[in-house]
């Protein structure tokens, strides 16, 4: 049902936790199932130096949070803003369409966290 990549991220999540006094942070919750993803980031010279996550929900939510923090590290803010949930789902080895909608909350979280930096 799930790819080895997804299962591996679920079992051994990377960058779990919260960056103290982060440069950018946001939390998103899917109101139907309650899946929640929080990402905190440290930004250095216009690039994301470090990203950490916390998540509540199904295995997809948790694995997507873990993988996203790996993808985000080293990205410019612009690159991060262009990251889509579909890309995260692909990198997880594929997630069914309806599950992307309810469980991959990455795009919304990043845009909420970084949107204000760009606007500011």
């Amino acid at each position: 049902m799930y790819s080895q990549i997804l299962l591996e991220h679920f079992e051994n999540p990377r960058n779990l936790g919260e960056i103290p006094s982060p440069d950018a942070a946001a939390t998103e919750r899917n109101p139907e199932q309650g899946d929640t993803l929080r990402i905190t980031m440290r930004i250095d010279g216009g690039r994301i130096a470090e990203a950490r996550f916390k998540a509540f929900g199904c295995p997809v939510t948790i694995a997507a949070g873990s993988l996203a923090t790996e993808m985000l590290a080293g990205m410019t803010i612009q690159q991060a803003l262009e990251l889509t949930d579909a890309q995260v789902a692909d990198a997880l080895g594929g997630v069914p369409e309806e599950r992307i909608r309810c469980s991959v909350l990455v795009q919304k979280v990043i845009r909420r966290a970084l949107g204000s930096l760009v606007a500011g």
Partner: protein, 394 residues
């Protein structure tokens, strides 16, 4: 150990707690069936030759044993492919045969989908449906049954026990009300036949569905109890087998295996259900002592001896199952059921959505022992702690 090897080993070696979904075939059941595939392959309809007559005799002997086990006459048993077909036959067959008399069906909100979807099909075909509520334990109120029956009602369908939460319904009382009001009562006994005593004539139901693979019998065989003189239109028409009630070549190995499963259940039921009750208590106490924020779903006493259903605050069920790795379980979470929302059974009982999403069903059976139960409790505790530590504060 790399993740790939770990996953392989977890597929190979796990603790099976899905006995409310299905059970492994008992070795004695398998042995009883084997001669009837290649050696004694004749169909009981072929009474013109000795092998056919032998098959007929074997099937009729099995029918007698199965009937005795569920408190019925042999002529009251119709073999089907399982409980889904039996439920379909009961609902659609009775409604259709009695459509000159009425157009109203009553069913509880927590019936199996085989019943509920048959009711919906009947609704699409001109019948009316009343869905009975259940209380917080999952119990149907006999007074609600009485109130729901009108002079147009043909049939009431209330299951003996629920597959998700194990709640055992007051079926004798419901049967009595149906008899007094002159309507048919269908009791889906899929979860009880073979686990706890089920006696059709003592309960007083008119129809009852059951299935072999729920109690160590084979998949693909089940039956419908049809009380004498109850009219049913057949779903399957053709060769007129089962006295015209269910055409199609009888599944002889399945029938033989079902009879053997009944024999084993009759012999072992008292001891095995006492053993399972003790194991379930151990699991219950272990969970409550190890994990904070738990909620028992279903009735605390009136429930199947092998079933436990818990919700875990601030946990999602599928993640919990996956985090426990080597335990085979099911959840009321939407993500595991393929439905758009969480378990309709828990919803009907008034369980909030977040707790329904976090529910696990533990179905104990013959393969489980105290060591396994202790391992499950340990694994569950660790998984809950791990997942809760991941959770952001909202």
């Amino acid at each position: 150990m790399g993740p790939a090897r770990m996953l392989t080993s977890h597929r190979m070696k796990y603790i099976y707690l899905g006995h409310n979904a299905t059970t492994p075939l008992h070795p004695d059941v398998l042995a009883s069936m084997l001669p009837f595939f290649a050696e004694k392959f004749a169909t009981p309809a072929s009474i013109t030759h000795p092998p056919g007559r032998e098959a007929r005799d074997m099937v009729e002997q099995a029918r007698g044993e199965i009937a005795a086990f569920i408190g019925a006459e042999p002529a009251e048993i119709v073999f089907t492919s399982g409980a889904t077909e039996a439920d379909n036959m009961a609902l659609k067959g009775a409604a259709w045969a009695h459509r000159d008399r009425g157009d109203h069906i009553v069913a509880s909100a927590i019936e199996h989908k085989a019943v509920l979807d048959s009711c919906r099909w009947l609704e699409k075909n001109g019948f009316r449906l009343t869905v009975l509520p259940v209380d917080r334990w999952g119990l149907v109120g006999p007074d609600d049954v009485d109130r729901a029956i009108t002079d147009r009602t043909i049939l009431v369908s209330v299951m003996h026990a629920n597959s998700e939460v194990g709640t055992v319904q007051p079926v004798e009382e419901i049967a009595r009300i149906c008899r007094q009001r002159g309507v048919l009562y269908h009791c889906d006994a899929t979860q009880t036949v073979g686990k706890i005593p089920f006696h059709a004539s003592a309960i007083g139901c008119d129809l009852a569905a059951f299935s072999g693979h729920k109690f160590y019998g084979p998949k693909g065989i089940g039956g419908l109890f049809v009380r004498r003189r109850v009219r049913l239109d057949p779903l399957m028409t053709g060769g007129g087998q089962e006295k015209g009630r269910r055409s199609g070549t009888v599944n002889v190995p399945g029938v033989i295996g079902l009879a053997e499963a009944c024999r084993i259940a009759r012999r072992d039921m008292d001891l095995e259900s006492a053993r399972l009750l003790a194991l379930r208590q151990r699991l219950h106490d272990g969970i409550v002592a190890t994990v904070e924020g738990t909620h028992l779903n279903g009735h605390p006493v009136r429930r199947l001896p092998n079933n436990l259903n818990f919700s875990f605050e601030a946990i999602e069920g599928e993640a919990l199952i996956l985090a426990m790795r080597s335990v085979a379980l099911s959840s009321g979470s939407a993500c595991t059921s393929g439905e758009s929302g969480p378990s309709y059974v828990l919803k009907a009982m008034g369980v909030p959505d977040d707790l329904a999403h976090s529910s696990l069903r533990f179905g104990l059976g013959r393969s489980n022992d105290a060591d396994q139960i202790d391992a499950v409790v340990t694994s569950l505790g660790a998984a809950v702690r791990k997942l809760r530590a991941m959770s952001p504060k909202v």
